[in-house]
């Protein structure tokens, strides 16, 4: 009971909750309110319950963190704001990341995110800057541990893949795999990159895909790539479809961003 009050942090999703929890260490308590992987009806009914269950926490929260992407802007942030304002708990001042279009699914981008979170914590609680700095350094180091080893990197460099657009950056830039082609939903890039178009290309030029080993999906975009995998298999190309995720806690036991990255990496090793 003598322990000093912890800083209460409300995050929109687990993506912010993870660095906040880690860097804040025993000085903070953090919760997240939204889930990235549910059908919209349920989501709309779940968020209120999340808020209710954490009502006393949110009401007294010191910091509100949001990624400020479309999901946050349209669903998660208004839900919290509404709760606070309607009940007269004051208006919410969000800390939002500087570039919502930047991902967090490579160590580099994740570290950028971590540094923003670190900055917010220091801003909120300058007295403990040293502590946060220590934790921040440790967090950043945990990403180094998931970096591929030299042997792994060599193997990855020779791995050819077809990837879902939203996972292209980590696959290409971080893991260094060779992206032979990528796929995306209908409306992206004027529909030139749908699974169907990729399969057309496979039919046209199977040679190009001869050594493709993986078809990489993005869990949060739903199923898109089964047909590509099958087209490859039908042509004797032994590719395997794997599902990358973007969110901590979307898979049992994968609770932090480093674990997410490690999980994704292990899928293609």
């Amino acid at each position: 009971d003598q322990a000093p009050e912890r800083i209460k942090i409300v995050c929109t999703t687990s993506v912010l909750m993870d660095p906040a929890t880690f860097i804040g260490g025993d000085k903070v308590e953090a919760i997240s309110i939204a889930d990235p992987t549910l059908c919209p009806h349920l989501q709309a009914d779940i968020i209120p319950n999340r808020i209710q269950l954490n009502m006393d926490f949110i009401k007294k929260a010191d910091v509100f963190m949001a990624y400020n992407d479309n999901n946050d802007k349209n669903i998660n942030m208004p839900a919290v704001e509404n709760f606070m304002e309607a009940n007269g708990f004051g208006s919410v001042e969000w800390r939002t990341v500087s570039d919502p279009s930047r991902g967090w699914n490579t160590p580099t981008t994740a570290k950028l995110l971590a540094s923003e979170v670190f900055g917010w914590l220091v801003e909120e609680d300058p007295a403990n800057e040293g502590y946060y700095q220590e934790r921040y350094d440790e967090y950043v180091e945990s990403f180094d541990a998931v970096e591929p080893t030299d042997a792994e990197r060599e193997q990855l460099n020779q791995t050819k893949v077809i990837v879902m657009l939203w996972q292209r950056e980590p696959v290409e830039k971080w893991l260094g795999m060779e992206v032979v082609n990528f796929f995306a939903p209908e409306f992206v890039m004027n529909g030139t990159k749908t699974a169907e178009k990729v399969v057309d290309d496979i039919i046209l030029d199977p040679e190009k895909y001869a050594d493709v080993e993986y078809v990489i999906e993005n869990m949060q975009s739903g199923e898109l790539g089964k047909g590509i995998e099958e087209a490859l298999l039908d042509r004797g190309i032994n590719a395997e479809r794997v599902i990358f995720t973007n969110f901590p806690r979307s898979i049992l036991g994968v609770d932090t961003i480093p674990q997410v990255l490690s999980y994704n990496k292990q899928l293609v090793l």
Partner: protein, 276 residues
Amino acid sequence: MFGFLIENNVVCHAVEAMVFASIACGILGVIISRMSLSSLGFTMSHAAFAGAAIGMFLGIGSQMAAIFFSAFVAALIGPVSDKAKMAADATLGVLFAMSMAVAIFLVSYMQYMGRGLTATNLLFGNVISLYREDIYALAAVSALTVIFVLAFFKEISALMFNMKIAEASGVRVKLVYYILLFIVAISVSLSLNIVGGLLIFVLLVTPASIASQFCFNVRSMFVAAPMIALSVSALGVWAGFKFTLPIAPLVALLLTFVFAISVILSFKRRINYKKY
């Protein structure tokens, strides 16, 4: 309303919202269950969703668009059922699929064009995030619903009894039926806006189903259904706050439980083995 009783305004507003929603939905539920309209809640929630998507797409207010499109769909239910000679249930199914298609189409289009994702937050309320004004709005919707049902009680019960006999007795069946479907749909979609989907869905069907286990008469159902809704949801709100459990699903599960018990205890299937 209960401000003098419950100091915590979150709890107070939640209780008030449940009271009003229970009364309105309980009463409408009796009509809905007799007329096989149980998918009304669902259809209206998706119509609102589609409307919001249209609003965002056209760059007009999605809240207004949601209300307009809901009203449009609500206004279609009666005439389409009538012209197509279909049960209202089938019409609701068709309109539901249409709304969902519009919503999904526009949402995925906008999402990938980088123009925002969904508008669900605008559409579904939340009993624990209510302004005093929301409570007033909900009270108004409830009051209008109750007034509507009372004002047209004759006509509504005649329709619930038998359309043909009602028409032969000189009730303006089509007109009242169209208005009835419209008003029910509109009240549902306005309450959805304030209280949220799950609570409305469950308050519309389950209390009336519970009441029908014990009441043989429509008048008693119109009294029993809101009272059941009210008492179970009051219990749910209390327990939800007391034990930090999610309110809406808790109320829904409690009502389902009461339904299960009442089906078991119902007089309806009881066979009397007495000999006199």
